[in-house]
Amino acid sequence: MDRTLVIGIGNPERGDDAAGLAVAAWLAGRLPAPVEVITHDGEATSLLALLGQASALYLVDACVSGAPAGTIRRLDVAAEPLPQAMFTVSTHGLGLADAIELARALDQLPAPSVVFAIEGRRFEPGAPLSPVVAEAVARVGERLRLELAGHAKEPASDA
């Protein structure tokens, strides 16, 4: 399997929670063809099914850690677990950190697996992205474009 997958996670109706989706939209048409960009609502079990179908995985999600809004973190989750407290934890199910750990336990977590986390500020229903988060979206998009341009060449040179 040789499949590079970028998954933008979020809820389009909840302010900065849409950051991951906005990065996916920013990346459209800017990545080499073999890289797939999809969006996801973050439900852990269906997300888990996707994680097992990639050979290289890039997840983008909003987070809340108390850092200034728009702060970007690049987390190598193939190396260590995601800090659970940073991501919205649903009392009603499992979150992104659970999906990643279940994938690791089931030997379905590809390497590389990277999470870009964008610190959000506002999550009210119907709110737009905060301006600082919108700026961070473009920065994460650009970082992913550069990182994946390099990554996508590898299979081509192997072929």
């Binding site: 269906s46 099914a49 009603h92 659970d98 279940l102 089931l106």
Partner: protein, 429 residues
């Protein structure tokens, strides 16, 4: 005599936020109290002033695991108020959608929330390291349920295709054909699931529950039937409030429901199964017997086995419904607003879910009442703890605490729906 207190700061693997305390003196349980401190959610007030047609989508938001149940009780109550009958293929599609929800909700609870209790793991992730094949099976089964919800409901969480009178759009026969292949495989996984859970080690505990569930003369109930109990109750949904009373208790932001005589009762898989065993298809009855169940199961620790039986049933029923499906002429029957009161009760995965609405002449909701299954089971959870904990008192503290948590998780409680986690406090001398 020394006093002993055990506290669990966060009881995992339940949905919502609450706590539990048991006080033990002289080897006897003095009190067992379930406290729910999740803030109240005011859905009933939020519905007032909204249009009747909005109720299925608003109430679906009460729960991310069982939104279909809220949609179904809402549409049945509205149709009851407006004098509308939905039958034929539209009724069958509602049963099919409910099959999807039972499969995904039960599979989630069996594999990720409840099984770790029986196999000695802190949670599903630890369990997955040693039981990867089982967890993969559970996830595939859950996905089959979600696939039904996506096809019929437009998306797998909070479906958007249910309306008073039917659906916004209905599937073509060929669309369902693809789903049938998924469900045939899911049926095999469900049979394996039943074998797997039947082999768990169950504490030998039973209580003489008053089981309450829908009962229907011809079918294992999802949407329709009379409200029946194991002690002879047999009423239509509109009589519910004459027989069941909700009480405010200081420790809970969710109202506690009891029978009018003040006793507790149990809703959910054990109750449905006990009151409707002979309506299960013979193959499913046979599978239940092979899994060690009789026609009535009073051991709540075996609720995981009954859930597995219900998943098997839901797969068979879904396949039957798909095979018999005829595309309806219209996706919904016409509905004209009028003043009235309507009642609806359907079987959420966790048990009976009751809705009542009073409508103004233009269809505006004047009053709404929603009684979720976990509200109804709170008193029974407390009674289980009061009775079973005494039998576990010889265990070391951490094992005792685990047994208490397991006793609560037997109910697959959705504390969010009931208002909504559990901190456990055990105080013994």
């Amino acid at each position: 005599m020394t006093r002993k207190t055990i506290k669990v700061g966060y009881l995992a693997r339940v949905e919502g936020e609450g706590s539990f305390s048991v006080v033990v003196r002289g080897g006897k349980v003095r009190s067992a109290e379930l406290s729910i401190f999740e803030p109240p959610r005011f859905f009933e007030a939020l519905l007032r002033g909204r249009d009747f047609a909005e109720a299925p989508d608003i109430t679906a938001r009460i729960c991310g695991i069982c939104p279909v149940a809220y949609q179904m009780s809402a549409v049945h109550a509205m149709e009851n108020a407006l004098g509308v009958t939905v039958d034929g293929p539209l009724r069958e599609l509602r049963r099919l959608l409910y099959c999807g929800e039972w499969i995904e909700s039960h599979a989630l609870h069996i594999y990720l929330l409840h099984a770790p209790d029986f196999l000695g793991y802190a949670g599903a992730i630890d369990m997955a390291r040693d039981h990867g094949e089982a967890v993969r099976r559970g996830l595939a089964l859950k996905k089959a349920g979600n696939d039904i919800m996506t096809l019929l409901g437009g998306r797998e969480i909070h479906p958007i295709n249910v309306r008073v009178g039917g659906f916004y759009c209905v599937p073509r026969r060929r669309e369902l054909a693809g789903l049938a292949e998924t469900l045939k495989r899911a049926r095999e996984l469900a049979a394996e699931t039943l074998d797997w859970v039947a082999g768990f080690d169950f504490p030998d505990r039973e209580r003489d529950y008053t089981f309450v569930a829908l009962a229907h003369p011809e079918e294992y109930p999802f949407n329709q039937g009379r409200i029946a109990s194991s002690r002879g109750l047999d009423i239509a949904a509109d009589q519910y409030e004459a027989h069941f009373v909700e009480h405010q208790v200081a420790r809970s932001t969710a109202l506690q429901s009891r029978l009018v005589d003040g006793t507790s009762y149990l809703v959910g898989p054990l109750a449905r199964y006990a009151l409707n065993f002979d309506r299960l298809p013979s193959a499913v009855q046979q599978a239940a017997r092979e899994a060690g169940l009789g026609p009535v199961c009073r051991n709540p620790f075996q609720s995981i086995v009954v859930r597995a039986v219900e998943v098997l049933f839901a797969c068979d029923e879904a396949l039957r419904l798909i095979d018999a499906y005829q595309e309806p002429e219209r996706p919904a029957v016409a509905v004209t607003p009028c003043a009235g009161i309507g009642h609806g009760a359907t079987e959420a995965p966790r048990g009976l879910l009751y809705h009542r609405y009073r409508l103004a002449a233009d269809g505006t909701i004047a009053e709404a009442r929603i009684v979720p299954p976990t509200s109804q089971n709170q008193a029974s959870i407390e009674a289980d703890l009061a009775e079973y904990v005494e039998g576990f008192l010889g265990l070391p503290d951490d094992e005792l605490r685990h047994r208490c948590e397991q006793t609560v998780r037997n109910y697959d409680p959705c504390i969010s729906c009931a208002t909504h986690f559990l901190r456990l406090e055990l105080d013994r001398d």
